[in-house]
Symmetry: C2
Subunit: 181 residues, 2 copies
């Protein structure tokens, strides 16, 4: 246990890729969404949108779309591949593409990850959902995912209860911090 | 006070633009840096670098560079403008520009912001440091800021003790969350 609960949650958060078959409670979903929308954004523009997906059929449709995109791009994956690791909840972030929109998305998605950790939930940030659009009409996919007109899919995050051994932290790279005192 | 300390820190974090003339303790700096480097990154590549700047002269040099860049671009600012709001500490993030580097930077900088809040410190994420490079040789600026070769400045964040009234949360935009259940 570190200095305080918050820092403990930040330092013990891991990307979790195995989830129990157990839904995320509604009250926790609301806290995750609130945490996301209270992230900072450049000039406080908040030009982001969150689609909270607890519907298995939709999650499976997205998984198929990602796999088709990967096939089209010749990206290898094993037979058991599931882009969302069978998580019970996926949140898709989309943005109006202005300056810093990807940085804003990072802040929002990290808030979700840290908030989830504090609630006993785990997450994995998923960039591969971008492959859904490969060779497809984006209008159809954005309609499926309720992404507003003028917004583009940015990143997604899985949420659920970790199953099995909790992942160890990967080693951190050396020589990535310098000081000017 | 919200559900738990972590969510409380996430929801009560504000961008602070007035700082007391009081340095950030060394032990807190170490926790902020550790929080940053424990952020997730795409494929766990960790191709980021952090320059922790507590030296007033360097902070002032950066401030002048930003203002010169803004002048060159014709961006208005008032006479009292200080890009770092006279904060005692600035952390500069730079990245090797690969896929998702800006998203990664968002996760790392948000970890710093949340960790700082938990330590009684406040922050403001600063994108305007990009203006330092306007009309300048990037090699000189990267040398000043100890940014490694092949890395590019991404974003910076001020850290310090808030002075004066604590900012209220700005209203959140409506209709930015949809559910698929």
């Amino acid at each position: 246990m570190y200095e305080n609960e918050t820092i403990n949650d930040i330092l013990t958060r891991r990307s979790v890729r195995k989830y129990a078959d157990k839904p995320v409670p509604e009250k926790d979903i609301e806290l995750l969404v609130k945490s996301a929308i209270y992230a900072p954004s450049a000039n406080n523009k908040q030009l982001w949108h969150f689609t909270v997906i607890a519907d298995d059929d939709t999650i499976e449709k997205m998984n198929v779309l990602v796999k088709e995109g990967m096939d089209e791009l010749g990206i290898e994956k094993d037979d058991a591949f599931h882009v969302f690791h069978h998580a019970p909840l996926v949140i898709v972030l989309s943005s109006s593409l202005i300056g810093f929109s990807e940085l804003n998305a990072g802040c929002a998605v990290e808030n979700i990850a840290i908030a989830a950790k504090s609630l006993g939930l785990d997450t994995c940030i998923i960039g591969q959902t971008r492959y859904m659009y490969q060779g497809k009409d984006p209008v159809d996919i954005n309609k499926l995912l309720k992404i507003p007109e003028g917004y583009e899919h940015d990143v997604s995050i899985t949420v659920g209860y970790a199953k099995g051994d909790y992942p160890e932290a990967k080693p951190r790279r050396k020589n990535i911090v310098d000081y000017i005192r």
